[in-house]
Subunit: 90 residues, 2 copies
């Protein structure tokens, strides 16, 4: 079993928390379909930024950054899609 | 002038995008005062996770991670505070 450095463990916990944080928002958004209080500019910029963090993690070979940003992109992308679909009725 | 490695430049742009993304959400939330569509669980977990990313960046000596997470914590913390204040009326 490979040795897990304390810094990697910390990055893993950090990644689990920030990534998992989007799950309740995705559930809330998909259930209610309501995105009025959610900022389009935030989610556009955030999804683009997370894509670049992913490339940064790959370049550094820092797997906690990679592992955290792949699911974050999927979850944040889901919220962005619902917001975009709601744009004409808000 | 210190040489900026391409990976650091990428991390800087990524950090600017993900951190700046919270600015329009903070403006929207402070202006409207409305947080009904915003998930409390998301912002609690996110703020805790960002705090750990900050420690991770300090331990790695990765300044783009540090520089991105300090203002993110301030901005996300602002949204969390407004959400918490609104809890009794939502």
């Amino acid at each position: 079993m490979p040795w897990l450095a304390p810094v990697d463990l910390l990055g893993t916990v950090a990644g689990i928390l920030t990534t998992a944080s989007f799950v309740p928002q995705v559930i809330k958004t998909l259930r209610s379909g309501q995105t009025r209080d959610i900022s389009l500019a935030m989610w556009l910029s955030f999804c683009l930024g997370v894509t670049l963090w992913l490339v940064y993690g790959i370049m550094l070979g820092a797997w906690p950054i990679i592992a955290a940003n792949v699911p974050t992109l999927g979850l944040a992308g889901t919220i962005l899609v619902v917001k975009l679909r709601n744009m004409n009725k808000e």
